[in-house]
Symmetry: C2
Subunit: 288 residues, 2 copies
């Protein structure tokens, strides 16, 4: 049996070793960034980043189902005037470890952190490295289809101004009735570039990525009832995405402070779903 829908506090590597083989459908995570500054308490040094990471990715490969996927959200920082190279080295090392580097998705941060530097512009993108164990893996492309690129021109141009304003005002909960009729007709597959805005920090604790990022990949690589693992859970964004998408989650987080924060957010998300008639009972899954 596999206990799911829970946050496990502890050292990532140790907790992973307690999980059975091939029990996870999808792994999504954004690990701690490498950093040489001594001030950051948990920063892993640049030089030892790959060395620190490889035992973890080896365990991740073990717990992942053969047809599962692993998406690693990461971006090397600029230090001493250069981009650091540990991510490149990590990709090469993981391939030697047996992972397939299937694809590199780009998360384009539409509203990136402001700032100005003499030798570079604002960093508006991060890597979402897609690794798999096999060439054949599960992918549900239809789940992330989008309305056509030139749908504005071809469809909205024929609408009256009042219709257009009415439609555009209904943001978030989809579109107005007129436009919604077209959705599904002119949907196209997305590309490997995701345009997502970063979320504003709420109550001081900001997640490293918006919930739309794991949401997109969870839709793409899992079905309802599948098990998603985030070995560096942080404030629980991946878990909340799972709850909203009716996927099971397992989160690992070393710091109690973040575990508490995650649990609090998870409760809120569950309550939101309970009102919608969705159960939140703890689960144990039988392993096949």
């Amino acid at each position: 049996m596999l206990e799911v829908d829970r946050i496990i506090q502890g050292n990532c590597l140790n907790v992973l070793k307690s999980l059975p083989d091939a029990c996870i459908d999808f792994i999504f995570t954004s690990p701690p960034y490498a950093d040489n500054r001594k001030k950051t308490y948990d920063g892993i040094s640049t030089k030892r980043y790959v060395e620190w990471y490889l035992p973890i990715s080896d365990e991740l490969k073990r717990v992942l189902k053969p047809e599962g996927s692993f998406v690693l959200n990461i971006k090397e920082r600029a230090a001493d005037g250069e981009r650091q190279t540990y991510v490149l080295e990590l990709i090469l090392a993981m391939r030697k470890q047996g992972w397939l580097w299937t694809e590199e998705y780009i998360w384009h941060k539409k509203n990136c952190y402001p700032g100005k530097w003499p030798n570079r512009f604002r960093d508006a993108w991060e890597r979402c490295l897609h690794f798999t164990r096999q060439k054949q893996f599960k992918m549900y492309q239809e789940a992330v289809m989008m309305p056509m690129g030139n749908w504005k021109e071809k469809r909205l141009a024929k609408l009256s101004d009042t219709d257009r304003i009415r439609d555009e005002s209904k943001v978030g909960s989809g579109f107005g009735k007129n436009v919604s009729n077209w959705l599904g007709k002119d949907n196209v597959y997305p590309t490997n570039v995701l345009h997502l805005a970063t979320e504003c920090a709420n109550r001081g604790h900001s997640a490293s990525f918006p919930i739309s990022l794991p949401t997109w990949f969870i839709k793409l690589f899992t079905q309802e009832g599948d098990v998603v693992l985030d070995p560096f859970m942080g404030s629980g964004t991946t878990a909340i995405a799972c709850i909203k998408l009716k996927r099971h989650y397992i989160g690992i987080e070393a710091k109690k402070e973040y575990c508490d924060l995650a649990l609090e957010s998870i409760e809120k998300a569950k309550n939101g779903h309970k009102k919608a008639g969705i159960t939140d009972k703890p689960m144990s899954l039988r392993l096949l």
Copy 2:
């Protein structure tokens, strides 16, 4: 003296060796990708790509001025279900060679090649790797400032749909007349993500990248009168960008067919500028 504003037909490495030290302000190129274009170029295999490339990049480092920049446009293919790794290896090798990997810009291709596959989406981005010789290099950030922020809401809202579409299509070589009036008012610095469409070759020959790509980087890293080198000139897109921006160019191209094509396009560009009162006399520059 340095002969500029010319296309040199010949082997890239040999021609580079004939150039003096530290005579180039900026290098922009898109070399032949590995396992690609076997019909037109001699396809370089993935395994030998780094080995083939390093002598060239060594010469590029020699001819570049210490405070100059080198932007390399490249993207690895998917092969055998995986992304190829030779570009990652190239970055690491060039650093060992003495280059600084200063930044990685992303060229988001708005109109990427269509297609559908079971394991990936359409590839909509390419790398623009920024290398320098020193931590201190020349960068003219103001030259690429863009009208941004809430321009869509506050400005474009007043335009008709057709005006909007027309303006958005004119990327790179300036903006539509309406938008150009706003330049200088609400300008902001761009990010390291560029949104450019590839140029569809409806007639004749097509370049692998749109002219707006070298245009952007030439504005960013050079001033008028500076010397730009493209060691894999192809159909001459970089040279034409130089002419329009009043920079000097040196292009190297192995195939006569492409040299002729480039010269033809260059003549057209020069004629266009002659009408605008700009001289096109051949130049020799005294090296400092």
